[in-house]
């Protein structure tokens, strides 16, 4: 019953996708578009299959940079967010810097990272951090500050220490907001990594992309973009899955929970 409903839900998106690809393929073949201008989907698939090990090895490098940067961003963002939410003094000192830092167009200063951190993974990683820390901090601060004042009064009356208030009330209240910030960061991290590779690396999907375009190997560029996009979607899915694990009680997750209960 449930499988059938799922199949029905997937039918139209799949048909739509297949139609788009077929149209693309037909037009390219009909007008005999040269492959360096626009490769047909079959060319792209062929390239992906041919160069799969190579693409995978380059993806791994991008994933590494994005993943490490993301972890650093989340750790930094949570710590800074907690400090800002916990102290008005820290808020006043730190927040202006954050806003200015975020306002700087990061793509433009990417070459500076090359100068500061050298060629390779380290540069990429810090670039990912620069790209992703802001949503994490902002959402952490908002979340921590939006705890129910009466719940805070209640635990204070129970004699909670500052750390207990943070741990028992503020952090759980902020979790939904923090998850939203991390999901934003998750979508930004691979983009940051690829831009970092454009500028400061001789490996990774970003570097591959630049080189493929330089060599007018457009099929390879499309293959890289395809692999990259699939990775982005999978990463988003993973983030949603983690969110559901962490927030089973949250209103945003309840409906799915009840549906699952009803069907199993």
């Amino acid at each position: 019953m449930r499988a059938r409903a799922l199949a029905a839900g997937m039918l139209w998106p799949l048909l739509s996708g297949a139609f788009g690809l077929a149209l693309w393929q037909g037009l390219v073949k009909l007008f005999e578009v040269p492959v360096f201008l626009l490769p047909a989907p079959t060319d792209v698939i062929e390239t992906i299959v041919d160069k799969w090990p190579y693409l995978l090895s380059q993806l791994a490098i991008t994933v590494m940079a994005a993943g490490l940067g993301l972890v650093m961003s989340v750790v930094l963002g949570l710590a800074a967010g907690a400090a800002i939410a916990g102290s008005r003094f820290v808020d006043r000192i730190l927040t202006p810097w954050l806003v200015v830092a975020h306002a700087i167009p990061k793509v433009v200063i990417a070459p500076l990272f090359l100068v500061w951190f050298g060629f390779g993974l380290q540069s990429e990683m810090f670039f990912v951090v620069a790209f992703t820390f802001f949503p994490v901090i902002v959402n952490t601060v908002t979340g921590l500050k939006s705890a129910d004042p009466e719940q805070l009064l209640m635990v204070r009356a129970m004699g909670a220490t500052r750390l207990q208030v943070l741990h028992k009330i503020q952090f759980p209240s902020a979790l939904a907001s923090i998850c939203a910030g991390i999901k934003l960061a998750v979508t930004l991290a691979p983009v940051g990594a690829v831009i970092g590779e454009f500028v400061a690396s001789n490996a990774g999907l970003g570097h591959l992309l630049i080189r493929a375009v330089g060599d007018t190997d457009t099929s390879l560029a499309f293959a890289a973009v395809t692999v990259f996009s699939i990775f982005g979607v999978l990463l988003w899915r993973a983030a949603e899955w983690v969110e559901r694990l962490v927030l089973p009680w949250h209103p945003s997750q309840r409906e799915t929970l009840m549906l699952r209960d009803a069907t199993t």
Binding site: G86, R156, M158, Q164, H250
Partner: protein
Amino acid sequence: MLFACSRHDNDFIRGSEGFRLMAAAGESIVLDGVEKTYGGANGVRAIAPLSAELRAGEAVSIVGPSGCGKSTLLRLIAGLDAPSRGTIRIGTTPVSGPVPDIGIVFQRDLLLEWRSVLGNVLLPAEIKRLAGLETRASELLQELDVAGFAKSYPWQLSGGMRQRVAIARALLTRPALLFLDEPFSALDALTRDQMNVLLQRLQTTQHVTTLLITHSISEAIFCADRVLVMSGRPGALLDDIRVPFERPRRLAVRETPEFTAIGRRIREHFEKAGVLVG
């Protein structure tokens, strides 16, 4: 302000632990000339000098109009705020900082949505670092007729059930005083009657000194051994009425002439003060 707990407060918790465990039968609460003014000498006077004594195990209601200083009184008794004048004692211990030995039930149940019912009831034990209260938590849920929901989450419960859980949470550490701040005013009338019966049953089994703040005259009488009538701001004591009915009480007691006579006496205070115009 949220983080105002100092190291001193922690010492306070540790020091009062033994006392808390002995205080199963409740403690007497003494308000001695308590006065509260906000904002300096010419500020708003929330409570006029107020003296009252709650004997150990006694159930007392405070009934008064909005703005009679009841929230202020809660903050004072809970030690979250200091009186401008006068002293408050729970048992022999003067209230001098946060964490006097009281359990509070608010108008909103304030259950933590991310914790199970049992997890919510055990919250005070975690915060006060008291171990071995799991059995008591289960017993309290049993007594409040929500034992079947120990593993449920708050959003799966009705309003009345949620408030029962909140009461269990307040009673967990056997506080010297159970402070109820308009606990049933968000519930429908039938549920509210049911909770009134439940509360006065609890007072018999838990022997806890109870202070109930309410706007409902009939609730104030039904749930208490004594009703304190408060005036509007600044809050002052207008009357102190003994409620003679035996326990356990049934809802039918509300229709007796004695009950209506007490109700009339309270109503007349409010009419005289201009709070009620009948």
